[in-house]
């Protein structure tokens, strides 16, 4: 991570690999990396507390060193953390929310994905009695 509001290219690549584990793509929707939504990560990082953004950069830096199989095993491990007990369980749950938060926000915040799943939201602005513009 170069500063609080950007990710290094290595960390971005790690995030794309993690994103593809969560969202591998199918016949209707692209994978996380194919969507290219990692380009929007600054919209989230800007508003994270500085210490959280630093920790995220460190985590992604470490995870970038893992081969694919080990990275997948790590994601599966943290995904079991909601029911986990023991000294590392709270850290794993925090990592899980952090990684999921980034991946799901970037992917399902994308307008093309929203349109594909029918999740768009509309608010009529102006007089309630005027004709809708959609």
């Amino acid at each position: 991570m170069t500063d609080q509001h950007t990710l290094s290219s290595r960390s971005r690549r790690a995030l794309e690999r993690i994103g593809d584990i969560y969202i591998p793509g199918d016949e209707a929707l692209p994978s996380f990396s194919a969507l290219g939504c990692v380009e929007e990560v600054g919209r989230l990082l800007w508003y994270l507390p500085a210490s959280d953004a630093r920790n995220l950069g460190t985590l992604l830096g470490v995870l970038s060193c893992l081969p694919d199989k080990a990275l997948r095993a790590f994601v599966v491990w943290v995904e079991r953390s909601p029911m986990a007990r023991g000294p590392h369980a709270s850290t794993l749950r925090t990592i899980r929310i952090g990684l999921r938060g980034l991946v799901m926000s970037l992917y399902y915040g994308d307008p093309t994905v929203l349109a594909e799943i029918g999740g768009e939201l509309y608010v009529h602005v102006g007089s309630a009695t005027s004709l809708p513009d959609h």
Partner: protein
């Protein structure tokens, strides 16, 4: 310049206090840590709204990572991002609170005029039967099938343009047509017209209490700043009020400070149907459970749904299974159980001043959760749901306690006159003063308590 009142926090309580005190002739300044948005500048998508309008860039976690907490960080506070539900507390809560606190005014009769006065200042509506979406109709059909009671929700809204196709869920990121009666467009707007000063992006670190005034210490637009006032109203919620006091020189004299935190932990269950439900479209959250058996069991079943990012976060699977579930987003319905939890949580601050929240679920809480999930399974079975997806990631949206109201300075922080024990120039009347979790949406009662507190200060 010494103000009569500095009000920290601009949500339901801060807005109400600012309005009542300014209207009463006091010179007031309102301090809000977040930025000021308006109907035309609220983010128009979930990603930006979540990042920009909430503390922590979207969510804050309990120490053990089991609970996520959502609290608004913008002018108008959580009243900008909540669903504008107005519920009065019932005798179950008032009896419990009166017994625990020793405060005689905590009863239906004494609080009624304060509820009435606040309601008179807002537009209050219910969603008409023809505007209930299929998610609401599934909720009522299932409740009828199992013999549980329900009723339409009272909502603080003026003109949602549902016939023009508005989707109320968008307004969880701020209402783009000023229909939602948040403090931003009601009390704060009126108080500004009467002379209230507002400082957004002013983050308070601590307060210093003196016999004749209070010094508020923080940063305005990241530059160190102070404000002096004869009295300070703490309206920053359970986390904010507790943290400000814990960082203040007087914390050691308040043994109950930060204790007794509760948050109505919420667990959502999605149900997949063969036909589209479109739970995210139209009037979001139209009805509620209204059933003595569920109430007595400490269960609050809610007609809710989640926008796409939140739904994706909550879905337990990963990979193709997760993606397949999200592809049927339009066919999903949801019911949530919020439990009336025991006030076993504790709010602390680290040496660097960061908030840390310990919120374990007690055995009784876990029992209530399992009971609620069983009821939801039965409800969805009765209306032919194809598949249930139970989400074990819980969120707390109603953050309560930490500065409990009571007569005993050893077990409470705020007196029945809403002053901090031993620090008469510090006032609080928001959700931080709740002695226990009510199991009922807290917004309307926060308004009513703040109305009462402001009237007391003006006398």
């Amino acid at each position: 310049m010494i103000y009569d009142f500095a009000i920290i926090g601009s949500g339901v309580s801060g807005g109400r206090m600012a309005y009542e005190l300014t209207k009463g002739g006091a010179r007031c300044v309102l301090l809000e840590a977040g930025r000021e948005f308006s109907a035309s500048t609220f983010p128009d998508n979930e990603l930006d709204a979540s990042a920009q309008l909430y503390w922590g860039g979207g969510v804050e976690l309990s120490i053990d990572g089991h609970l996520g907490f959502l609290r608004g960080k913008c002018l108008g506070g959580t009243s900008v991002v909540n669903n504008a539900i107005l519920d009065r507390f019932d005798v179950l809560v008032w009896d419990d609170w009166r017994e625990r606190s020793g405060a005689a005014f905590l009863n239906e009769d004494d609080m009624a005029p304060h509820y009435d006065a606040c309601a008179a200042d807002m537009q209050v509506q219910s969603i008409s039967p023809e505007h209930r979406n299929r998610n609401a109709r599934l909720f009522t059909t299932a409740f009828d099938a199992l013999g549980y009671g329900w009723r339409p929700l009272d909502r603080a809204q003026s003109d949602c343009a549902l016939d023009a196709g508005s989707d109320c869920m968008r307004c969880l990121g701020g209402c783009a047509r000023d229909s939602k009666q948040s403090s931003l467009v009601t009390t704060i707007r009126r108080a500004r017209a009467l002379g209230l000063e507002v400082r957004s992006s002013f983050e308070v670190h601590h307060v210093e209490h003196r016999a004749d005034a209070v010094r508020v210490v923080g940063a305005w637009l990241t530059v160190p700043a102070t404000v002096e006032a004869r009295k300070v109203v703490l309206a920053a919620g359970a986390f904010g009020n507790s943290a400000i006091l814990l960082r203040s020189p007087h914390a050691g004299a308040l043994p109950a400070l930060g204790r007794g935190f509760a948050c109505h932990p919420q667990y959502i269950t999605f149900a997949a149907f063969d036909e589209p439900v479109n739970a995210h479209k139209g009037a979001f959250q139209a009805v509620k459970a209204h059933d003595p058996e569920l109430r007595a069991a400490g269960l609050k079943l809610e007609n809710v749904f989640a926008p796409a990012i939140a739904a994706a976060m909550l879905m337990p699977a990963i990979g193709p299974g997760h993606q397949a579930t999200m592809r049927q987003y339009q066919n999903l319905s949801a019911i949530e159980v919020a439990i009336r939890d025991e006030p076993a949580g504790r709010i602390r601050v680290t040496k660097s001043g960061r908030i840390m929240v310990d919120k374990p679920l007690t055995d009784r809480d876990r029992g209530r959760l399992e009971h609620g999930l069983r009821v939801i399974r039965e409800l969805y079975r009765s209306v032919g749901a194809r598949e249930l997806i139970e989400c074990r990631q819980s969120f707390g949206l109603h953050l309560m306690g930490g500065c409990a109201l009571g007569t005993n300075a050893q077990t409470s922080v705020v007196t029945p006159e809403f002053a901090v024990h031993g620090l008469p120039n510090l006032i609080a009347a928001d959700s931080s003063v709740f002695p226990t979790a009510p199991g009922i949406n807290p917004s309307f009662t926060i308004m009513a308590l703040s109305h009462r507190a402001a009237r007391g200060l003006l006398q």
